[in-house]
């Protein structure tokens, strides 16, 4: 009912918007990795930009604040956990953007076996193993390996998968043409529903007063 060109303008707008490169819902996301006992990660705005110098809070399962820091220039943070447990990382820019991520206890599994047994294993390893001929050279390696390999694989995997996970999050938040059109269709449908309801009401009320 506005200018006849308005619906056309909407479509052109959508098309132009989708054609220009970084089109995405404007929201804050948080990416968290666990490496050893260190919980680190960064926040990012979908569509570009990192939240710099914003509040990072880490809470345990009981809701106690364990850490209260700020992100660096890359929107990143790092924190060393006291023990493997479930934690919640909260990122709050203070201007209405807020996001959270959960870190489960099992993400520390590779880490504990790496950090605790490694020094323990090193000490007794040199003792009994050295006595056995043939095992001298390989001894420490052989004992440490199982735990260390697991931790190393964990770390390598996390490093390799990080860009993939980020890309997935970004694509999840991308606006899709079909979704937008679906939304517009929904509004048209609502308008139709409203008009129908009004028409019925008028019919029931009989001839126009």
């Amino acid at each position: 009912m506005i200018g006849r060109s308005t619906p056309l303008a909407v479509i052109v707008w959508v098309a132009v918007g989708l054609a220009s490169a970084p089109v995405a819902a404007h929201s804050l996301k948080l990416f968290v990795t666990v490496d050893g006992m260190v919980v680190s990660g960064h926040g990012f705005f979908v569509g570009g930009g990192r939240p710099q110098g914003v509040v990072v809070k880490i809470r345990d399962a009981d809701g106690r604040d364990l850490h209260d820091g700020r992100t660096d220039a890359n929107g990143a943070f790092a924190w060393t956990a006291p023990a493997p447990a479930a934690y919640t990382v909260l990122l709050d820019t203070g201007d209405g953007h807020f996001t959270r991520a959960e870190v489960t206890a099992d993400r520390f599994v590779g880490a504990t076996s790496a950090s605790t047994p490694a020094p323990v294993a090193a000490a007794p390893a040199s003792g009994p193993e050295v006595a056995k001929p043939g095992a001298v050279a390989r001894g420490p390696d052989a004992i440490v390996s199982a735990a260390e390999i697991e931790a190393a694989v964990d770390r390598a995997l996390a490093r390799r998968l990080q860009p993939l996970v980020e890309a997935q999050e970004r694509s999840e938040a991308r606006l899709r043409f079909a979704d937008i059109m679906g939304g517009i269709g929904m509004i048209v449908g609502l308008a139709g529903l409203g008009a129908w309801g009004m028409a019925r009401r008028r019919e029931r009320e009989g001839p126009r007063a």
Binding site: G3, A25, F45, D95, I180, I187
Partner: protein, 222 residues
């Protein structure tokens, strides 16, 4: 920017915003008659799409709000239009939050409604340049009102937010400039092409009594 997500605001603020929004939506729905349905839907769609796309500018990223445009054209019906747009954005794109729908609706609709109702009578008395100026003023002030509403909602929820509220308001300055241009141009265009949506035609009441009885007499005859 103006979409506050879940988990930020305190419960009293959420409830207060919800109650205000419900009242606004109720008033808006009662104000809509058959002739208003299409334009309300078109502006709801425009708002849904326009406030979906954000452009990174400087340290933040902004998107259109169109509160001033909607307020001038729709009046109180801006509330349901904004609510529908926000509801779809939240459910389809995770944009903003469900619990904050009320607060967000009030923040985006109320400034436009107030300014629109105040500015509409002035549009008929001025030239095209004046209409551009009024549209621009309404567009910019509606953004300022939305930023103010957001800042208020955040400040009422937690005093921790107070120090960073300057940032909230500052990031809206470029948006206010853009909205001023968009609203100014749109108002001038509408005044020329479709003056009745702005309540500008002198003979506006005339077409209705003439057209509608004619249509109904055909209905009765058949």
């Amino acid at each position: 920017m103006a979409h506050i997500p879940d988990g930020v605001l305190s419960l009293p603020v959420l409830i207060g915003g919800g109650a205000l929004a419900a009242a606004g939506i109720g008033l808006g729905l009662r104000a809509i008659d058959e002739r208003d349905v299409p334009k309300t839907a078109i502006l709801a769609a425009l708002f849904f799409v326009g406030s979906l796309f954000s452009v990174p500018i400087g340290p933040s990223s902004i998107h259109l709000l169109l509160g001033g445009t909607m307020g001038l054209v729709l009046g109180v019906a801006t509330f349901p239009a904004v609510f529908v747009g926000l509801l779809l954005q939240a459910t389809m794109f995770g944009f903003g939050g469900i619990s904050t729908l009320g607060v967000d609706t009030v923040n985006m609709a109320l400034p436009g409604v107030v300014l629109g109702v105040l500015a509409r009578p002035l549009l008929g008395r001025v030239s095209t340049a004046g209409r551009v100026a009024i549209g621009a003023g309404v567009g910019a002030l509606a953004v300022a009102g939305t930023a103010g509403g957001m800042a208020l909602a955040l400040a009422l929820s937690s005093p921790d937010y107070v120090p960073s509220l300057g940032v909230v308001v500052a990031t809206q300055v470029p948006l206010a400039a853009i909205e001023a241009v968009v609203t100014g141009v749109l108002v001038a265009h509408l005044a020329r092409v479709k003056p009745e949506v702005l309540g500008l035609t002198a003979f506006e009441p005339a077409p209705l009594p003439v057209v509608v009885p004619a249509a109904e007499s055909i209905e009765v005859a058949s």
